[in-house]
Symmetry: D2
Subunit: 159 residues, 4 copies
Amino acid sequence: MSVNRVILIGNVGQDPRVKYFDTGSAVATFPLATTDRGYTLANGTQIPERTEWHNIVASNRLAEIVDKYVHKGDKLYLEGKIRTRSYSDQSGAMRYITEIYVDNMEMLSPKGANPGAGASASGQPATGQQQQPVAGQPQQTQQSQAQPVQDNPADDLPF
Amino acid sequence: MSVNRVILIGNVGQDPRVKYFDTGSAVATFPLATTDRGYTLANGTQIPERTEWHNIVASNRLAEIVDKYVHKGDKLYLEGKIRTRSYSDQSGAMRYITEIYVDNMEMLSPKGANPGAGASASGQPATGQQQQPVAGQPQQTQQSQAQPVQDNPADDLPF
Amino acid sequence: MSVNRVILIGNVGQDPRVKYFDTGSAVATFPLATTDRGYTLANGTQIPERTEWHNIVASNRLAEIVDKYVHKGDKLYLEGKIRTRSYSDQSGAMRYITEIYVDNMEMLSPKGANPGAGASASGQPATGQQQQPVAGQPQQTQQSQAQPVQDNPADDLPF
Amino acid sequence: MSVNRVILIGNVGQDPRVKYFDTGSAVATFPLATTDRGYTLANGTQIPERTEWHNIVASNRLAEIVDKYVHKGDKLYLEGKIRTRSYSDQSGAMRYITEIYVDNMEMLSPKGANPGAGASASGQPATGQQQQPVAGQPQQTQQSQAQPVQDNPADDLPF
DNA sequence: TTTT
DNA sequence: TTTT
């Protein structure tokens, strides 16, 4: 018997990426930031503010809700569980990434507060998003943008 | 404003490693396993049981309690927060490890249920313990045991 | 948007009472005790140990699991929400009772640790159970035991 | 060993009442509302939206923070524990009230969103507050406002 | 009423 | 590496 439970309130770092599969399932992923206030220890040591980035994963019905309503900048309440999965990097070495699989979500931002790229006039999607460092996320080595990029298996799920 | 909160109930995978510093502070680290029951989806797909390994870190007073009372096999209730830290591996590449910084702990095993290496007659401490793979933990390449090993900075904290 | 979430680990004070309805639904209720350790304040004041009694309610599938597996003395992990309901006491005055509606449960006791009245040799069921004071529970005034007691509406649900 | 943990996100129903004691300690109390969304069962039954009122209690340093920053209408994140205490009502009968003793609080409203009575020009404190029904709160019978009201012992602590 |  |  065991329990694996996470509760987060934080801000969405990038517009979510959502994949729909022909089985009808869907997966949404996005980074969420939580920030600890800095403080001063009894001995005078200053502990600075610190931001933690979480790799969030939502499935199915929740992925669709994320797709419709969640945007960069939104404040969210999330419940879920911690999951670490392994993948092979380009050199074939085993790497790990820790993700939060969400099973409950509440929106804390007022509606329309962060309309996101999809609501903008230009509609230019967030291409910069893959260059954002996300804690624990597999880093891609630089690749030419000119030729079609084969799907990287390590890229297949979540991050 | 944000919240980063984790609640775990699981089993200790190895006797904790505890370091005491000359500043009087202490840090204890150990792996904790949580296991999801397997289940069957509506469409008949079998989802097997799955074990998650968490890298637990406790400091100061809590580290001392861990040192005294926590042993391999114990069932624990833990509250804490998620923290991902980076380090450089042997090739100089950036790696990430996600840890749970504990701030509240309750023992769920009956007292004396798992006396651990320190309570055994031989008292031979768990030297094999450092060779155990821990999910998301930096792996050390094989090194000669013959000469004194310099502390690896990546080894310094937690795992 | 809001969150109402409770996490309890404690001991079952009495064998659960379970009601099955002809609609197929079921409700299980039982008291759960959590105990805070006593401690000493900086100024020397002793804060004694304190036991809190929670009125637990489980429905449907969870009520059936409670019926089968939960017994007096068991240690349980529960997740749920707080709910206060009102009822009228015998004098017609409005009274309140706060209950925990459970939506997730894990058994922390080893199997068979507390077999309960139904598994005992004498099999004498816990008739005294309805006379146990439960914190916040509507108190019944003394009634004759000689004649069949009509169901009290205030007694109908949970406690 | 046990755990008694509550997590709430909701809205403050009334400006907090704060009492300072000559020992230097302080206690703040206020009602917090959480609202469950309504939903429709598989069989078509409509479950309406439902608001739950929680009796919140904060002590000492947290009470002072409440005094300074928390106002009617604010959205709060709270962590704490459930506590039911008894008191005698006017007829001498034992009554129960369930409260949430808070040990962690985060403000979810933008600063200055709800300035409260204390920040208004008139500064007329919320006299209506005692007429708000709070779930599980001891009800006061009507008393003349003309003469000084003796402290009711049941009124002494929290609510 | 539970349990440590 | 734990545990059921």
